[in-house]
């Protein structure tokens, strides 16, 4: 009896982590559609997608381990690499966008980086 109870709890946990993962991926895609400019969209992508993919991979790992007894190293590695690379890619995309002149949203209130980029442009032109 206790064995079935434990397996039910583990199944619930797997279902929950898969659901949370899909929910976060779904909300980050909604965020891409709703947010006004590149930078705010990147907020949604870098954060939502990371936890979403991590949740799905953890759920898949637990499922494979409990149902088939396989310890899947690839899934763990995938989770770690997504965690490491998502903020880096967000940083690079936003930096490249800024240097190529992508405008901030109209309602933005502050931009400290503009002066730096302007000076750099000037020194390159000279």
């Amino acid at each position: 009896m206790s064995g079935t109870l434990i397996s039910i709890i583990i199944d619930l946990f797997i279902i929950l982590s898969l659901l949370i993962g899909t929910f976060f991926i779904f909300s980050s895609s909604v965020g891409i559609l709703r947010f006004p400019d590149v930078y705010t969209r990147l907020h949604a992508v870098t954060k939502g997608a990371t936890l979403g993919v991590a949740g799905i991979m953890i759920g898949a790992f637990l499922f494979l381990f409990i149902e088939h007894g396989i310890i899947s190293g690839k899934l763990i590695l995938g989770t770690i690499f997504v965690f490491m690379t998502a903020p880096v890619s967000g940083h690079m995309i936003s930096r490249a966008g800024y240097h190529n002149g992508v405008k901030l949203w109209d309602k933005s209130v502050r931009d400290d980086y503009a002066d730096v980029v302007k000076e750099k442009r000037k020194s390159i032109d000279n």
């Binding site: 930078y39 705010t40 936003s94």
Partner: protein, 158 residues
Amino acid sequence: MNFQIVINIVIALMWMFLSESYTFTTFLVGYIIGIILLYVLRRFIPDAFYLNRVLKVIKLLLLFNKELILSNIDIVKLVYKPKLDVQPGIFALPTELKSNWEITMLANLISLTPGTLSIAVSEDYSKIYIHAMDIPDVVKSINDIKESFEKAIMEVTR
């Protein structure tokens, strides 16, 4: 620190030869015995006990995960808000960290905190430019966050 890891691996290998079983499990048992020996003899070995630093790395990773989950909840709240009434913008955050590795860690951690995204690092590594989702809200809290991150990173690297 490297010296201690070498000693630890040598102890593990010796344990494998002594128990005459050459499997990963025996190596692991030997490694744990090595850790216990190093901990008991830590006063006679140069440098601090190296697991202290490993513990701090684990602490930093936990901090990383906590911030990630918090920021996710934050962004989901914003996504499903009917009207987007935020004031985004870019501000400069001065930092005391010096090396490439430390700056990378800080920039990544900041990218994963609620409402912030690091955009660029200044030429002399003294400032990080951050895009914030809601400037008045973020500027208030960023200083505590930055200090706790910098402390955690410095404990690992210095």
